[in-house]
């Protein structure tokens, strides 16, 4: 029996298909402006990759920002519980998860069995989120991957003062216009994100091991800055963006095993 987890994030939508203990496949698409059908599109793409038909799925759990409007899900679970369960499955030693998603940033504490223990979220301000980095990449005319590499080559680190994402953008443009080295500006941006995220983590206390998930988990420069601040090296999932969808699939599997159709 196939278990499916669908995570409708504010920027990207993900789906994971699970058969017993192995992950059959996953998919990831931009949620975009027409989100109602993006849930179907992301699940269809996963089914196509796994060469399965919808009828073979035993149970579907939806999570994420848009979880309420996923038409075909039997159950919804919040992304907080899903990230705890998914991270625990990938790394059983995890106790603290930092999920840096598109629109928000979550700090989660879980126990040895992956149960959600404590959490705090910043969904009020874009600073420290995926979209903040996207905005900055667009302003500096580089791709997200280049951002990470360039930042690692920085010699100095320029202070970025504005906390509001919209004003950080104009601060970055004026720094560049003054001829500052792009790499130092990037290093400053990444360190501002790390500082912001560190404050969030302190709200729930950090216990090793630390897992960093979400799109920004792929940005090594930010990860290194966070590790410096927290004083812990982080475990990084191969696919940091699907941890939530994986957790949802694990909940679906649990329901199947409990005999719930």
């Amino acid at each position: 029996m196939i278990a499916a987890g669908v995570d409708i994030g504010s920027s990207t939508s993900k789906a994971v298909l699970l058969n017993g203990d192995d992950i059959l496949c996953h998919s990831l698409i931009n949620t975009g402006a027409e989100s109602a059908n993006s849930a179907c599109r992301t699940l269809d793409e996963a089914l196509e990759r796994a060469k399965l038909s919808a009828s073979e799925i035993g149970y579907i759990v939806a999570t994420g920002y848009g979880r309420v409007i996923v038409p075909f899900a039997q159950e919804t679970v919040t992304e907080l519980s899903c990230h705890a369960r998914g991270a625990n499955w990938l790394f059983p030693s995890v106790r603290t998860i930092l999920d840096m998603g598109g629109q928000d940033c979550k700090a989660i504490r879980c126990d040895a069995a992956g149960h959600l223990e404590n959490f705090t979220m910043n969904d009020k301000c874009a600073a420290g989120t995926g979209r903040f980095l996207e905005l900055m990449a667009r302003v500096m005319g580089i791709s997200l991957d280049e951002m990470s590499e360039l930042s690692l080559e920085a010699k100095a680190e320029l202070r970025i003062n504005s906390t509001c994402a919209v004003f950080a953008k104009s601060e970055v443009t004026s720094l560049i216009r003054e001829g500052k080295d792009r790499r130092d500006v990037l290093a400053g941006l990444h360190s501002a994100i790390a500082a912001r995220v560190y404050n969030l983590l302190r709200g729930i206390g950090v216990e090793p091991d630390l897992v960093i998930s979400g799109g920004i988990g792929k940005n090594i420069a930010v990860v290194r800055k966070i590790e410096e601040r927290v004083g812990l090296s982080a475990l990084l999932p191969e696919e940091p963006q699907i941890v939530g969808a994986l957790g949802a699939a694990l909940f679906a599997r649990e329901r199947i095993m409990l005999g719930k159709e």
Binding site: N161, S162, N199, R202, G203
Partner: protein, 366 residues
């Protein structure tokens, strides 16, 4: 000499530690202008005003939420970072919500001994003065316990003299500021430093400063401004105004005239005189005396030929925020343009304020 006052403020922690070692006496932290420092002084201890810093309150933010007045959070942050480890006590007066919260917060989160709550009546009445006098008597007994010295009526009268003299000196500097002999930043440094070092030492410094200022020929081509502010625990804001061509010749700030405007009547019984002065002295907005508050502002305005007013209130400070619309009306009724800032005590804030201050001064120059 006047330039050196700024250094006294910046190195206040080292100065206090050095004094403590040199004299083998105790240092008592004080919040706000409502605590009669004369009593602490008469007990042979050094009263120092607790100030925040223009840096991120990384520790303080774990104990206080974001939408509150940033000054007390910053003070707790300094304590949590060990900058106030030399204090032998902290006096918290019953002033406003956030300062009252300092009493619980410092007791719960710092190892500093003798966190003392001083009852201050919130309404001015003769019963209030009696009640405040009784509380000052209780306060005196506690200070005697902490210091191990007794406070005689004589030593209290002597302390009141030293403090009154300091107020006169600051008052003369206040008059010189109007004539352009002392800048707004310099007067604020004088007031701030007065709150941080032993009073008679500050009196000696002030004698030299006034003498030095007396020989200057009056500057004063700047645009004459009145500054109404809540808490400003450093001189950066006034420095920014004077860099932009402003000339601060009158103010109603706690770090300005509010601290020294009225002296203590040293003829009457000391505790009674202290109770009267510190209860009814310059009403800060929270004393619920709108009329007396506006009369005081008018008193400082009179004869100052001010051209414009800058009001700087810290965010989420209820006392000032409620008064602001009426204070603004009062200034505008006198044809004085008003520029308002909602302060957040962040590092980057000053740069964003520069643009508006330059525009305001250009407008006033006409």
């Amino acid at each position: 000499m006047i330039e050196s006052l700024g250094r006294l403020r910046k190195d206040r922690h080292d100065e206090a530690r050095a004094w403590k070692e040199r004299m083998g006496k105790k240092v008592i932290g004080v919040f706000c202008c409502d605590v009669p420092e004369e009593l602490i002084y008469a007990a042979g201890m050094l009263p120092v005003r607790i100030l925040g810093e223009h840096e991120e309150a990384s520790e303080g933010n774990l104990h206080f939420p974001t939408n509150v007045c940033p000054y007390p959070t910053s003070c707790l942050d300094q304590a949590l970072k060990g900058r106030y480890d030399y204090l032998d006590g902290v006096i918290v007066p019953n002033v406003c919500d956030m300062i009252r919260a300092m009493h619980g917060a410092w007791k719960l989160n710092t190892a500093i001994p003798n966190v003392y709550f001083l009852e201050v009546p919130q309404r001015i009445s003769n019963h209030g003065v009696e009640f405040f006098r009784e509380n000052l008597a209780r306060f005196q007994r506690s200070l005697e316990e902490i210091s191990g010295n007794s406070i005689s009526s004589e030593s209290l009268k002597q302390a009141i003299d030293v403090y009154n003299r300091n107020r006169d000196l600051l008052h003369r500097a206040y008059e010189m500021r109007r004539k352009g002999l002392v800048s707004g930043v310099e007067l604020q440094e004088m007031v701030l430093s007065s709150m941080l070092i032993p009073k008679e030492e500050h009196n000696r410094l002030m004698d030299q400063c006034l003498e030095e200022a007396g020989q200057r020929h009056p500057a004063g081509d700047g645009v004459r401004l009145f500054i109404s502010a809540s808490m400003l625990d450093d001189t950066d804001f006034l420095q920014l105004i004077e860099d932009c061509g402003g000339w601060v010749i009158a103010d109603d700030m706690p770090m300005g005239s509010r601290y020294f405007f009225y002296s203590v009547d040293n003829e009457a019984e000391p505790l009674e005189a202290l109770a009267k002065r510190y209860l009814a002295r310059i009403p800060c907005p929270r004393k619920m005396l709108p009329q007396a508050r506006f009369e005081y502002v008018e008193e400082t305005l009179a004869g100052a030929e001010v051209q414009g007013v800058i009001i700087h209130n810290l965010k989420a400070c209820d006392c000032h925020l409620y008064e602001y619309p009426y204070l603004k009306e009062m200034f505008e009724a006198r044809g004085l343009p008003v520029l308002f800032f909602r302060g957040e005590e962040t590092e980057a804030e000053l740069e964003t304020q520069r643009d508006d201050i330059e525009a305001f001064i250009e407008v006033l120059r006409g």
